[in-house]
Amino acid sequence: MDDRIRDVLDQHGRLGVDVGKLDDRADLYEAGLTSHASVNVMLGLEDAFDIEFPERLLRKSTFASVDSIRSALAELSVQ
């Protein structure tokens, strides 16, 4: 799952750092993730995992790190 999360971040996150070298708990907003880019990351994750994020998960903290994204996907029963 982590590789696909990082692929989405690499493709849509517009981060100023190498996604492959980011720690799982690194703050993506500090790494350059903007609000607008987080929309693209959300849409990219929905495509990659064939899900739709419910409103309760649409919080800044959901997309704050690889760890938090993994937790949100687990909540949506993504393996």
Binding site: R14, V39, R59
Partner: protein, 141 residues
């Protein structure tokens, strides 16, 4: 000497800039899914035109939504982007209309009036939002 609570009107200001190219990139990548998750039917109708016209108009509106979030002091909350709507009035100027969670946040903070100004030049769009906010204050007699 005692405390008497009164209400004063405070002003909050939010500003945001948006790269027009980022909006176009999102449209290219996600098409209608991006457009309909972020913008309302009214906003899409107001920005109809060729690709460049649409991207400029939507970038300015996204900046207005983000500037509004700053005014609302949202912290971790992320209201549906469509719950912050830029409405074009009959007179030609634009206003902010809130609904859903964004309206709840405004109500909780006694924000009564929002005003917006947007502009774009070349590859960049910008928006400023000003809000009137009633604040409870204690004053000594």
């Amino acid at each position: 000497m005692g405390l008497v609570s009164n209400v004063r009107t405070a002003v909050r200001v939010g500003v945001d800039v948006m790269a027009v190219g980022e909006v176009q990139r999102s449209i290219d990548a996600f098409g209608d899914r991006y457009l309909t998750r972020v913008f309302t039917e009214h906003e899409l109708a107001c920005t109809a035109g060729d690709d460049a016209t649409r991207a400029r108009g939507l970038a300015a509106r996204f900046a207005a939504k983000e500037a509004t979030l700053k005014v609302l002091h949202t912290q971790d909350a992320q209201p549906d982007w469509r719950s912050i709507e830029v409405r074009r009035t009959a007179g030609g100027w634009c206003e902010i209309k809130l609904s859903g969670r964004a309206a709840d946040l405004a109500h909780q903070q006694a924000i009564s009036d929002l005003d917006v100004s947007m502009s774009h030049e070349g590859s960049t769009a910008v928006a400023v939002v000003v809000a009137a906010c009633a604040e409870q204050r204690g004053s000594e007699l």
